[in-house]
Symmetry: C4
């Protein structure tokens, strides 16, 4: 990160530590440490639901959780404090507010709740302790993977229309399948195919091809219907996933090409000349473009 | 929608309400209301099959269904009445007939049947009441999603030949698999693998990878056969879905490119110069091209 | 089909009937009739395995099968007789032999076996009667679908190397998975995971995602192993199918482009100038190119 | 392979035998023999876990295994001895060391362990005898398939970033799904949904669509959760496999194009002029480029 003259160097140093460059060893080490701590924390939260493990290590888990929550609280405060460094076009309070309401920051905040309310020491509220598991999402922000994650979001937005239509089609298909199956099987298996919502479970389990085997047609009509629905529905249900995958692959290809062009110095100049905004390399936010060098 | 001078303005106004433009707030509100009513109606139809819910809200469901059926009847009448607005090249009665026999209009009509025959009040004919569920398909007509739906139809037509061949191959494969499996297992499990049609159920459930577990080979020969069939068949059965997905993705890409070209004004002129027909933006029907401006 | 002067017109007429052109109504009718007869025959063969149906219609089935076998025998003879019409570069007997050993003709011959040996009347040799089911493959030869089928064969050949490698990888993966699972589970479930070949059934059922539920790991180690294998193996096992689908889509696109170019008359001339052989439009065989017109 | 003058011809001859050219019949025969021996060996190892087979052929298996292990030991020694033939830029010992630590050579060595330690004769250590199964991986080195295998590795490396992100996303999704499901079902099925790690088994089996049926939600909340997770999760879990498949297809296309260009002699000259290194056709290692011909 280029330091802008005139900013207090302490804040810039902290910001630099949290957003590692390619040649900042200290920042890289800090990020690796935080990543390891997150993974260890999630692993501890997961293992503490195993009774035999929990009975044995309850004290160790408690200490480890409290210590790491402190670390995460400090990290959160540092991120809020330095949130205005790369948002020079905003007032500091506005820059911080924008950071606080960004999705990943909200997840961080929720994952800190157990600390704020002392829930960890209080007792056995499993559901609330599960909040800590959210922390694993923070992993996605660390290092260079945030770029690919932004790309993923871009694909979701870019294909929003197709995804909406195909998902609607899938839901309509599932509802129709469940209705037909309910009509065909409710007399032979009145306990299992008891209503359309209950038959929806069959439709989802069948059309995603999971097929647990807890519900399947037993009449001839039901089998003919179910077979036809499975044969033609399975492809349709896989359509949104296929669209997403092809969109992702396409966008990755475009990104790779752009990177290659940039390396050749062709695109960079063009872009600089025409862009009025750019994506922040640190948070993926749209920022006004800096005045191009003369 | 551009109003054509000379048409009665009331009909045009109704037509405009039913086919919302980008800047017609009233039409947008009406469409949102109709969409919400459809979803609520389908939800009520689905929930009324749950016995405990039905027992409690039978009165509410009855009133709601009758009221919304009235609204849908009025909507249907209005659509038929204004069906000639954008089909200026046809006689009014021909334009209306063409609308009435279009797939979505037929679905609307069928979904109105319960009203016409008073079936709702009459009794417990579940199958006939299920007709109301068809209404959810109307959702697909509303707003801008009709365009993507037309695209879907175009892909289906454009790949018809490949789809036919691969679906035939899949059916042939399934029939062969069922025959071989029937021969291999009918002695070990005479009740389960009782005939080729019954073994078809195994073939479908296996080759779509649903795998309920109600039928599986138990002899060594049957397992070798079944394993080989699964290994090689699963890919072939997924082929039509893959073709559909790739066709869809390709067509979407072409549509996006065209839209971009159109925005640049390149394609629009070319098209206007050569086209002798165009797709109606409201219903996707082929219409004769309007005389191009001099 | 262009008739070549000098050939006996009877043979050419029969050949034309069996290989319908776009404007030969009689040939089209004959082909539709044969297709219907094949489908009806296969349906009868399938339904005759259902005991209740067989008991009732055993006489009807017998007559229908004998009559249609006669028709198919006549068709087979006609195809062999006229096999030299479009293979002018070969001796008649060589042309006929080449036809007789082509895959679809061999299938036809096998499907005629029940007639030759009188097996149908003889008795209950189910396995031999199942041969008639092979006839459904003949459907693929009729009409214009043979072209797409040839395309399918071309894709298989064109991707042979990748398919071989990925299929080998899949088999290696399955063998490794079965070995590891056998080692992990054979003590907990000695009856089920009794040997590596028996555990292969688990590997196939899991990695194709069929998942019947007749075999699954029950130890902790087995579940960790099985979960890891499923997570990473499922994608690899789907690879050959994905390659096939993408190859098919690509080849179809190329074919469509070529057809468009041909319609513009661009490619046709080029081709005619350089080609020394061409694919016969009737059987997909490589034939020496006819001398191009001056 | 072009022999470089100055090298002892015996070593070159052995090297040539192990790395068959297109026109070296002896080398091809040797490779076919080795491939057959590997397959036979693996088949014997697999079949020896079937009790009835093992009881009957224990002597035959023992002799066959010892003999073929000798052959493989000689092959391994020959490969190490000739490892410096195509690594002319390295000291002989460095070339041999590099070969010994390459993945396939390590696998060969591990597969030879049973010979070195006499384990085969010693007893019933099934796990150690399973090492022989590793030998099947050697198949991938033989002949021309090594090229496609290298391609596979290149795709894995080229898409490493996307794969890492999507795999992380999948793991995060699975962990979240398991946590939610554990909270929803642990009271209704305390034995089955006993902890988050145990619920992970459900998440993997569901999201890979295997669906054994040993674990599935039974409460209404659990079914709603499970259905939603299945509907949206299945597509995400299939994403890495889709990326891999599209990457593989793309890379194959590029390879095919390059080969075609090379055949036209266009690319070859360009390459020779600029390349400072090349991939060894025998082992896929990067080697310094030979001085281009004047």
């Amino acid at each position: 990160m280029e330091l802008r003259a005139g900013w207090p160097s302490w804040k810039d140093r902290v910001f630099g530590l949290l957003h590692p460059d390619d040649d900042d060893t200290a920042a890289k080490l800090l990020n690796s440490f935080l990543a390891t701590l997150i993974v260890a924390n999630v692993a501890a939260a997961v293992m503490s639901t195993v009774e035999s493990v929990q009975a044995r290590y309850v004290g160790t888990f408690g200490v480890f959780e409290r210590v790491s929550l402190m670390v995460f609280a400090v990290e959160y405060a540092a991120r809020v404090w330095t949130a205005d460094v790369h948002r020079g076009h905003l007032q500091p309070w506005a820059a911080r507010l924008r950071y606080v309401v960004s999705p990943l920051a909200l997840i961080d905040l929720v994952a800190l709740l157990p600390l704020l309310f002392g829930l960890l020491s209080a007792g056995d509220l499993v559901a609330l302790r599960a909040l800590r598991l959210l922390r694993i999402l923070s992993l996605l922000r660390l290092g260079r993977y945030s770029k690919t994650l932004q790309l993923f979001g871009r694909v979701l937005r870019g294909r929003a229309e197709e995804l909406f239509v195909t998902v609607t089609l899938v839901l309509v298909l599932m509802l129709s399948a469940a209705t037909l199956m309910y009509l065909a099987e409710r007399e032979a298996q009145p306990q299992v195919y008891a209503s359309i919502p209950q038959t929806m479970w069959w439709a989802i389990v069948t059309l995603t091809t999971v097929g647990y085997g807890d519900m399947f047609p037993q009449t001839i009509l039901g089998k003919i219907l179910g077979g036809t629905i499975a044969l033609f529905g399975v492809g349709l249900v896989a359509l949104p996933a296929g669209l997403l995958a092809s969109g992702f692959a396409e966008e990755m290809g475009r990104m790779r090409e752009e990177r290659e062009s940039e390396e050749l110095g062709l695109l960079a100049q063009e872009k600089a000349a025409t862009a009025t905004w750019s994506y922040c390399p640190h948070c993926g936010e749209k920022l006004p473009a800096p005045p191009s060098a003369p």
